[in-house]
């Protein structure tokens, strides 16, 4: 994490192209992409006839990326051991039960609706805050990031206490859409911020209207960011338990939890977890397909100008502000208001600033360590995923995502199982907790960094190589600095999400260590909502800092 006072961590933005970038480089393409300096929209990228032969991934990337992939697969080792504990026939019976298909379709329906809703929310807000003369864009940008810090339990609880009728599918869809849209907002806003306006201006000068320009020029460039964000949303929805449990919508994850809660039986839970892993792999493959071979780095020589903001007339301005306000109200003001209400009405309200501060500090420490490790592990995988094509790159990337749809409790138990047997001195010590965080949230960092590397012109790396830099030096002196905003964004995102993580924290934390999330749990578990509220509010408050810094960078 960036300490205060450092230059701002920035979202996946393109380089401030100090050097001329003369090609539409930087796609998922394998080749050194020496294509003609053409419009980098998808169709151009699909031609690919000019592509040179596949490059080999240098060892300096391959070795650490393999380590990351193997690390991310650790929970799956446990899963397979547990699932097959009573023989494949038992596991198959669990998976093939009549109920499984129904639950799966419930989960998938919810996923589809939530992903669609987060695309609408995320892309519309990103466009408003980055490309229009919306008043106070920074404020709205922070408000659009903050829902990340609101635990889905708190989000659902506040909706339920205000509208008890929203239970079931609708309630779960609303709560999850509001909690997850920042996963789409952040990468899309970053792309909009960094996009070279030249292409849009060219389209306009050729007679396209603003809507057609958006549809044919802007939107295709947003596609990888929106797809990547959508994938994270989908995996979050598949793994979520808090919202669906409170909203009483029966999903696949609830069946897994029931297996732990009711029969204290880990075998069916593990068998069902294997299904989740399979779905994850399918989703990752689908997302990779949509990314295609398109390239998204800027075209043309010279430094990109900051994009123009669309002036808004009084009515449009009111409508835009109203929309942003409505979303902020529902996703941030509403849960925060609920927390304040808890403090106001409950007798358990206590004000212990020292304990709060200590807990907050411990939370920040462990979340920062988790974010740092996650980013370090994600970097080689993300660079390979962005720059190389072929089976190996694909497998490495998929491996880093494989466990992301598993419920936190399953991943936590996997680390209990592995640590107790093979790393007992680490068990219930902070390094193991940090390692578990990295395993849980690796894809968040991979996605953010990959997007940033994609936007960096590959030609600069080639220039460095042709000037005699080795792969490591090129990585250190060219790729990483160019992708720095994305690296910082990945770190910030992971940091915020780790702060609210509960199941793994409870099982793996050092004895006596408290985080804001565990205190929140202790008190709500005890019905002491007023005592719980300050911890949840602090969570949102701390999250506002990286959210603010994320939106600070302006081209």
């Amino acid at each position: 994490m960036n300490p205060p006072g450092r230059p701002s961590p920035q979202p996946p933005a393109p380089p401030e192209a100090d050097a001329p970038a003369d090609t539409g480089a930087g796609g998922t393409g394998d080749g050194p992409a020496r294509g003609p300096a053409g419009a980098p929209h998808a169709p151009a990228g699909r031609r690919g006839s000019h592509r040179p032969a596949r490059r080999r991934v240098p060892l300096i990337l391959l070795v650490p990326a393999t380590v990351t992939a193997l690390f991310a697969l650790l929970p799956l080792v446990y899963l397979v051991i547990r699932a097959l504990e009573r023989g494949p026939a038992f596991a198959w019976d669990v998976v093939a039960a009549d109920r499984t298909a129904g639950l799966l379709s419930n989960s998938l329906r919810l996923t589809v609706v939530v992903v669609a809703a987060t695309w609408v929310l995320g892309i519309s807000l990103a466009w408003l805050t980055e490309r229009t003369a919306l008043p106070a864009p920074r404020l709205w940008a922070v408000l659009a990031t903050l829902p990340l810090a609101v635990p889905s339990y708190v989000m659902s609880f506040s909706w339920l206490s205000a509208f008890p009728g929203v239970r079931g599918f609708a309630g779960a869809a609303i709560a999850l859409s509001l909690a997850c849209f920042p996963y789409v907002y952040l990468p899309v806003a970053a792309v909009l911020r960094g996009m070279d306006p030249a292409q849009e201006e060219a389209a306009r000068s050729l007679g396209h209207g603003p809507w057609r320009t958006f549809r044919t020029v802007t939107l295709p460039q947003l596609r990888p960011a929106a797809a990547g964000g959508g994938l994270l949303v989908a995996l979050y929805v598949m793994s979520d338990f808090g919202a669906v449990s409170l909203m009483r919508y029966d999903t696949f994850t609830r069946a897994i939890h029931t297996s732990y809660r009711a029969s204290f039986d880990r075998t069916p839970a593990a068998a069902l977890g294997c299904v989740l892993v399979l779905i994850t792999v399918l989703l990752v493959v689908a997302e990779r397909r949509t990314r295609g071979r398109a390239r998204y780095a800027r075209a043309g020589r010279g430094t990109a100008r900051p994009p123009l903001r669309l002036p808004l007339g009084p009515w449009a301005r009111a409508a835009a502000t109203g929309w942003a306000g409505l979303v902020a109200l529902a996703a941030v003001a509403f849960p925060v208001g609920t927390l304040c209400y808890w403090i106001a009405v409950g007798n358990s309200a206590t004000w212990q600033p020292a304990a709060l501060l200590e807990t907050a500090w411990a939370t920040v420490g462990v979340a920062a360590a988790g974010a740092a490790l996650t980013v370090l592990l994600a970097l080689p995988v993300a660079v390979i995923a962005a720059r190389y094509r072929g089976g190996l790159a694909r497998v490495l990337e998929q491996a880093s995502f494989a466990g992301h749809a598993l419920p936190g409790i399953t991943v936590a138990l996997a680390f209990v199982f592995l640590a107790v047997r093979y790393a007992n001195p680490l068990y219930q010590e902070w390094p193991l907790l940090v390692i578990a965080y990295a395993a849980l949230f690796l894809p968040l960092a991979v996605t953010a960094i990959r997007a940033a590397v994609l936007q960096a012109p590959e030609s600069l790396e080639e220039a460095a190589r042709s000037l005699g830099r080795g792969p490591l030096r090129t990585l250190r002196e060219v790729t990483v600095p160019l992708a720095a905003p994305g690296i910082a964004a990945g770190a910030a995102l992971t940091f915020v999400v780790i702060m609210k993580e509960l199941p793994a924290t409870l099982l793996l934390r050092p004895t006596g260590m408290e985080t804001l999330a565990t205190r929140l749990w202790t008190h709500t578990d005890n019905f002491a909502f007023a005592a719980a509220a300050p911890y949840a509010l602090t969570l949102v408050l701390i999250a506002a800092v990286p959210s603010y810094l994320l939106g600070r960078h302006r081209s």
């Binding site: 720095a484 409870l506 004895t511």
Partner: protein
Amino acid sequence: MRRHRRIVAAIAGAALLIPAAAACGSDDSSADESSGNGAGSDSGGEDAGESGGETLTIYSGRNEELIDPLIGQLEEATGVEVTVRYAGTAEHAAALMEEGENTGAGLFISQDAGALGALSKAGLLEELPEDVLGGVDEAHRGSAGDWVGISGRARVLVYNQDLVEEGDLPGSIHDLTDEEWNGKVAYAPTNASFQTFVTALRVLEGEDGARDWLEALQANDAEAFDGNGGILDAVNNGDIEVGLVNHYYWYATVAEEGEDSLNTRLHYFPGGDPGSLINVAGVGITAHGGQSDAALKAVEYLLSEEAQLYFAEETKEYPLAAGVTSPVEELPAFDSIEAPDVNLTDLDSLEETLALLQEVGMV
């Protein structure tokens, strides 16, 4: 470009420094946590203190706010140095099973009998001596003699005073399926306590009897809630007339909001009705934790009058140790509850209960 390099340097710096800082932080907090009792971690018998150095690590599925105040007294009474890890009961049970023979836990405090039963079945609990078992009624301990209940809670009906006259209260859960109660009953099918109650119903009235009751309840437009808290709120707001809950949830709400602000009161079903089942929270000594002596002292302390009264006052649960009665005046006497005649050990068929609940479409 220079900015970016500084960002990267900052992140790299953070990657190296912050874990170290976190390490310091966690050292601090574990030292604080053991509040003057020396190092808090489960360092076995290494750091022999002045008190003889006996140490005990407890996994508690019961809330920290409840257990933590008791730990100081426990240490004082037994001379054992205690460390507690808190998490949900199910999470702890699953973790204990994953840890198996390598567990660092000496004692498990469970929120419900089911988790203890599962650990007992897995052979992970140690048999308790006769004199400990003898202090608790047979109905409130494990039949294998490897866990005991430490506090009891009753199933009750919470009702809204403005909507239901005391004289109109049902005499049995079977009345709730009558036309008179159509659309007026709240229940929490996913809640563990409700599921235990259904298990008791299956044991008492057979699979068909239980299925009939559940289907009749559903047909009578009873409303399903996610938890007891939601039921209490709904009954209190007058959204619904009555709800099936555990007795102590109501007292917890009273403690948070005050009795005067509530429109609800509790009703205990008479005559051994399944609706007034007694369930327990309990403790078991782990078979492989290697802290049996210290754990046994802790179990004895938890069944002592001091600890039993503490639970009774804090949670409004019922004391289970022989000879101890609850000091909470508003609570009906424990032996006045006409609980159904069912052994908790027979309530280990939660999976079948879930299958039944799924069959009738409640979960």
